[in-house]
Every structure is written in structure tokens, then in C-alpha cells.
């Protein structure tokens, strides 16, 4: 789950990380009021993606009239598929230096990692590539968290020794916040050094581990439904789905198997329209729902279902396919590859319903690529 900048800053503020004063505005008039109260402000589009500045979604406003004008420009604009519905209006900062501070999970070390750099403002991946020496890392013990002396060492390694008195408590607070929210990523970029010598979080990013949401039932993150209507619909149906740019709808059980099915489709000369994993032990209703979803996608010209039954039972899947084909009046070409648990029953059911099952995944991919070519006008 991702959060918008202002939602992140509210949490920073509550845990004692300094942020500029700000107000949320949903109309140009509200932005003008904010400028009236705060003085010169930055008007910032609230969308859960990076690159807002480049897209023209962040502008400065000296006066209330300025604020009204730029907010009018920004509200309603589309940034990477997201319509801007809110702007965050905050006191403009006189920034003398931009730092980077973030925490993510380091899968190789199998631990969280704190990252600090004197070169903030840019994407940290870019800094890591061009100036790896400008990045300092600390892997705190996951049981006790970072100790102050470890944090100081991190700060000195980043070449930020003179700021250690201010930075140390800030880093400890950020780590506590990450733990409290089960953050996959938490980032202050830039962490701005202002003309008066203070540190302030000029931007903030927070993404929470979906697996831990049962601990955070009260949280509401950014509305990501703008992203892609198909992906939003899949989320409503609790299906693991990723939209791709081809024309063959793919359904399978198991992430590795589905990924491999996409590879096979491409190898046979086609392109997959999506990744859709019905997971282990899927019942007929899930298969039905998955087919219903693909039927909504106008790009889908053919459907390939690839099932290797472990926990998943062939007869359950077959029932789901047959019912969905009938209920939805599906006329798209469809190829089903079925093997594993209860494969005989599954194949027999399909055959009786006029769907010829394949045994080999490669052969099934080849056939659907051919059939869907035929159906394209």
C-alpha cells in the first residue's frame, strides 16, 4: 500500500520528524487561502508516483493569486495515468543542501537497510550507479534496531559528520516509524538543509508491506485505482493480476508457472495480455471470476489456461471454465493445458463440453498463438 506525500508528512510530523507547514487543497480557491495563511508556497500534485516535478506537477507561488493560478493548472492534470485531485500547499523552503535518507529491505543481506547520502534530490538508484561512494548503508539488527553509535558511524561514513547531532535522532525516529508501519520502503528525499541550518523532510515516500495489512486495518493509503482499470478490477476480485501489452490472456496456477507461460507465448510468436495467477487450491468460482475479468479486456484476442494441479484440482478448474464459458457466452479462442491432480476428470469434463485439452504447455502456447491470429480481423 502506497501513501501520498501529505499522508506521509502527517506521519513524519506525528513522530517528530520536521516537515514544512502545509495544507491540503482540493480547489484553486483553497490553494489561494493556504498561500494567504502560509506566505510563499510550493503547490504540489498529490499522486502516488515519482517524477511529479518533471511532469509540471510542482510549482512555486509567491502570492495568493499565484497560488490560485498554478493550483488551477495542476488540479485535473494527469501524471503517469493518475488524475490530480488534491494539491499539497506548503511553505517554500530556502534549501542550501539536499540529502537522502531512506530504509528498505535488503534481500541479499536478509535485513532492513538504512541508506544515507549527501547527494539527495535525485533517484537513489541513479546515485548508487554513478557515485556508489556517496552512499552509506547500515543494516540494523532486526531485533534491537539501530543503536546511536551505529547511526553516528553511518553519518560519518556518509561524510555528514557536522550534522550528526541533528541527524542521529532523526534517523532513529525514521527507523521506528518504518517498524511501526511495516514499511517496505520509507524515504525522505530530499532531506533538506535550510538556510537557518535546520533539517526538514521536503518530500516523503512510504510503502507498506501488503502482508502486514492485518496489523494496520485503520490505515487508508493512496487511491491507486486510477492506475489501470483492469488492475483495479482484479484487486476488487482479489486476483493476482498484472496488465501487459499483448493480446493473449493468460491464466495459470503458481507465479513461476504463469511467468513461464508468458515466456512460452512469446517464444511461439505471440504476446501475453496479462499475468494472472489463481494461486494454489483455487475453486471453480475463482476460475470463473478470472475468466470474467479477461473477458472485460478488449485487447484479449485469445485465452490460454495453464494448470498444473498440486493442491489445485483439475475437475474444479474444469467446472469453472465450463460455467464461465456458458455464462459469459465466451466466443474467444481458448486453449486449456491441464495436468496434475484429478487431470483425467478435468480433461473428460472439458472434452464433454467441447474444449480439447492440451497436455504440453509448449504445444498449448503454440496453438493459442495460431488460433488468436485467425480471430484477429
Amino acid at each position: 500500500m502506497k501513501f501520498l506525500e501529505y499522508q506521509v508528512k502527517e506521519r513524519f510530523k506525528a513522530s517528530g520528524i520536521p516537515v514544512p507547514d502545509g495544507r491540503l487543497a482540493r480547489t484553486a480557491d483553497e490553494a489561494a487561502l493556504a498561500a494567504g495563511a502560509l506566505g510563499p508556497i510550493a503547490v504540489k500534485a498529490q499522486v502516488p508516483v515519482g517524477g511529479r516535478g518533471k511532469a509540471g506537477g510542482i510549482k512555486l507561488a509567491k502570492t495568493a493569486a499565484d497560488a490560485k493560478r498554478v493550483a488551477g493548472e495542476i488540479l485535473g492534470m494527469t501524471i503517469k495515468g493518475y488524475t490530480v485531485r488534491e494539491v499539497w500547499c506548503e511553505t517554500a523552503q530556502e534549501i542550501t543542501r539536499e540529502l537522502y535518507l531512506g530504509l528498505t529491505l535488503d534481500r541479499d543481506a536478509r535485513k532492513p537497510v538504512l541508506i544515507l547520502s549527501a547527494q539527495g534530490g535525485m533517484e537513489i538508484e541513479e546515485v548508487a550507479e554513478t557515485h556508489p561512494e556517496a552512499i552509506a548503508k547500515l543494516h540494523p539488527d532486526p531485533w534491537r534496531g539501530p543503536l546511536p553509535f551505529e547511526v553516528r558511524d553511518l553519518i560519518f561514513r556518509a561524510g555528514l559528520g557536522p550534522l550528526q547531532a541533528q541527524l542521529t535522532p532523526l534517523i532513529v525516529k525514521l527507523y521506528s516509524l518504518a517498524r511501526a508501519y511495516d514499511a517496505l520502503t520509507i524515504e525522505i528525499n530530499p532531506l533538506a538543509l535550510t538556510r537557518d541550518g535546520g533539517l526538514v523532510a521536503a518530500d516523503g515516500k512510504l510503502e507498506i508491506d501488503e502482508n502486514a495489512l492485518f496489523r494496520h486495518k485503520d490505515l487508508h493509503g493512496a487511491d491507486e485505482s486510477d492506475e489501470d482499470p483492469m488492475e483495479a478490477e482484479a484487486r476488487r476480485r482479489k486476483l493476482t493480476y498484472v496488465r501487459l501489452d499483448g493480446s493473449i490472456g493468460v491464466i495459470g496456477n503458481g507465479a513461476g508457472l504463469v511467468m513461464n507461460t508468458l515466456d512460452l507465448v512469446q517464444r511461439e510468436g505471440g504476446r501475453a495480455a496479462n499475468f494472472l495467477d489463481i494461486g494454489g487450491g483455487a475453486k471453480a468460482e475463482v476460475v470463473h471470476s478470472a475468466l470474467e475479468l479477461l473477458a472485460m479486456d478488449p485487447n484479449v484476442k485469445g485465452i490460454l489456461i495453464n494448470i498444473f494441479g498440486g493442491i489445485t484440482r483439475g475437475d474444479e478448474v474444469a467446472h469453472g471454465i465450463i460455467d464461465a464459458t456458458r455464462d459469459l457466452n465466451l466466443t474467444l479462442p481458448m486453449v486449456v493445458r491441464m495436468t496434475g491432480t484429478r487431470e483425467e476428470e478435468g480433461r473428460r469434463l472439458l472434452q464433454e463440453a467441447g474444449i480439447t485439452p492440451e497436455v504440453s504447455a509448449t504445444a498449448a502456447a503454440g496453438r493459442i498463438v495460431q488460433l488468436s491470429r485467425g480471430s484477429t480481423p
Binding site: L105, R107, D108, R110, K111, P112, E125, E129, D141, P142, W143, R179, D182, L184, D209, N211, A212, F214, R215, T240, V242, L244, G252, N253, G254, A255, G256, L257, V258, M259, N260, L262, D263, L264, V265, Q266, R267, A272, F275, D277, G280, F308, G309, G310, I311, T339, G340, T341, V359, S360, A361, T362, A363
Partner: protein, 298 residues
């Protein structure tokens, strides 16, 4: 005995009385696994599927000398179950549970390491030593005994390879699904080291996927340094776009790390034979152990 598990291994199941736990315990017993105990807090003293149930892993360990634990408890409690097993002196923990919060796993992983215990998973299908025993959910009927070892991040692709090999008349030693999460117990590197030293394994199939750099690490530290056996590699997700998580929490290309191309390249450089399809993997493994492949899947 191949690696990690044999028909003598004394296995306990945490969460045996649950829906998944009881179904798969039955399957494991049917396969020949020596299931000696179950653990379900509050149900100690009862018996299910002919297996005595205990309240704690420590009780089960003391009464039955269990050595291996299979974990089927729900995600919010699974990390605690892993640590309970590690604290009770279980030597090999196999966690099937999917969806464990990553911070829970980071802590459990550190705990397990301190205890000097082996962990497989989480979010994995478990392991099977063909013809002897299995812990986890790999279907019973697909394995056949032989000398090909399998290690994989993907459950269903493991099944594909096992079945393909069996249908081609090529048996397996041990098949290990290490799981699809970003924070895992045993890595490719560690499982490959076990296969390297196992006299019962003549060739190894390694099924990797996009995301992370475990495949590259294994290529550099084990495969490229005198592995001594043929290694057949396969990477899924070659057509996956960057930045999109392909089902597994661990399967995502971010920046330049985790691409299929980098993994294929690293494996080839280390001397592995990298295949494009599962059919090719089966044929290559058959040839590697000196069996003509009769596999024509098409």
C-alpha cells in the same frame, strides 16, 4: 539418503489440525513420511490421523525426538512457529505458509541463523526425497527415485520438472522448493552445496526466476568453482517487464538487478547449461545422467 530428508527422518507438523495441515499430513503419511507428532496449542493430548498432538514443539520434541518440522500455520502466526521450532532444537524447518509479513520474517530469519538451524521457505512447496519421504505439498504421484537433484524458487515449475523427468524415465534424488519470497531461509547457494557433496545426486536442475540476485550469487560462489556435476539451469520471467511484481513477492525487476538476462549470463559463465523450456531441461537432465530421453512432451 540424498539431501536433508530420508524415510527415517522424524517429522512433526505445526498446524496439523488445521484444514491445510491435516490434508497434507495425510498426503505426507501416504508418501511414506515418518510423521511422529503434530503441534496445535490447546489440542495437546489428542490424536489426529493416528498422530499424537502436543501443545508445544518442546513437548513434541521431548516425547518423539522429532528432527524436522513442517509448518502449515496461518501467516500472522507463522514466524512465531518458525522460532518456536528453532528454539526447541528442531534441525530442519520447512515453512509452507504464504504471506508472512516481511519484518516478521526478517526477525525469524535472524533467530534461526543464531540457533544454527536450517530453514526452507517460507512460501514454498517443501521438499521430497523421491521414494522415501516428503515434507510439504509436492504432489505424491509425480516423483520417481533416481539421481537428479532439483532446487527451485517456484512451486508449480518444480512439479513440471519432476513430472517431466519421471515421464521420461529419469528419477530424482531430492527436490527442494526454496520459495518465492524476498526473505528466505536456505538459498540456491546453500542447497547447491548440499547437492555437490551428495553421492546420490549425479546432476542438478536449478529453476530460478527474475528478482534478487540469488542465482548470480550461486553461480559465482558454487557453480563456477568446481561443482563437479552437470548443472542445468532455467530462468522464468524472461519476458516480464521491469517494475511489475509477477505474483511472487520476490519476483520483480528493479533497476538493473534481477533481470533474467543477468541470471542466464551468470549461469552460463559459471559453466551451467541454460535451457529455454522445461522440455529442454528434461532432455538435458536425462542426457546428463546418461539416460536417453524419451520425453517428447509435444
Amino acid at each position: 539418503m540424498s539431501i536433508l530428508l530420508s524415510r527415517q527422518s522424524r517429522v512433526l507438523v505445526q498446524g496439523l489440525t488445521g484444514r491445510e495441515g491435516s490434508f497434507h499430513t495425510e498426503q505426507m503419511k501416504a508418501y511414506g513420511t515418518n510423521v511422529v507428532a503434530g503441534v496445535s496449542p490447546g489440542k495437546g493430548g489428542t490424536t489426529q490421523l493416528g498422530v499424537p498432538i502436543f501443545d508445544t514443539v518442546a513437548d513434541a520434541k521431548r516425547e518423539t525426538r522429532a528432527e524436522v518440522s513442517g509448518i502449515f500455520v496461518p501467516a500472522p502466526f507463522a514466524a512465531d512457529a518458525i522460532m518456536e521450532a528453532a528454539a526447541s532444537g528442531i534441525g530442519l524447518i520447512v515453512c509452507i505458509t504464504e504471506g508472512i509479513p516481511l519484518y516478521d520474517m526478517v526477525r525469524a530469519r535472524a533467530f534461526v541463523e543464531d540457533a544454527g538451524v536450517k530453514l526452507i521457505g517460507p512460501n514454498c512447496p517443501g521438499l521430497v526425497t523421491a521414494g522415501e519421504a516428503k515434507v510439504g505439498i509436492i504432489p505424491n504421484h509425480i516423483s520417481s527415485a533416481g539421481s537428479v537433484g532439483i532446487v527451485s524458487r517456484s512451486g508449480t515449475l518444480t512439479y513440471e520438472v519432476i513430472q517431466g523427468l519421471s515421464q521420461a524415465g529419469v528419477g530424482q534424488s531430492t527436490s527442494v522448493g526454496i520459495g518465492g519470497d524476498p526473505i528466505l531461509g536456505l538459498s540456491f547457494t546453500e542447497v547447491l552445496r548440499l547437492f555437490k557433496d551428495d553421492p546420490a545426486t549425479g546432476a542438478v536442475v536449478m529453476i530460478g526466476e527474475i528478482g534478487g540476485s540469488d542465482e548470480e550469487a550461486a553461480a559465482e560462489t558454487v557453480i563456477g568453482r568446481g561443482f563437479g556435476k552437470p548443472l542445468i539451469g532455467f530462468i522464468s520471467g524472461r519476458t516480464a517487464p521491469p517494475g511489475k511484481r509477477m505474483g511472487h513477492a520476490g519476483a520483480i525487476i528493479s533497476g538493473n538487478t534481477g533481470t533474467a538476462a543477468s541470471k542466464v549470463e551468470a549461469l552460463k559463465r559459471a559453466g551451467a547449461r541454460v535451457c529455454d523450456t522445461i522440455e529442454e531441461v528434461v532432455a538435458a537432465a536425462a542426457a546428463a545422467v546418461g539416460q536417453p530421453s524419451s520425453a517428447t512432451h509435444r
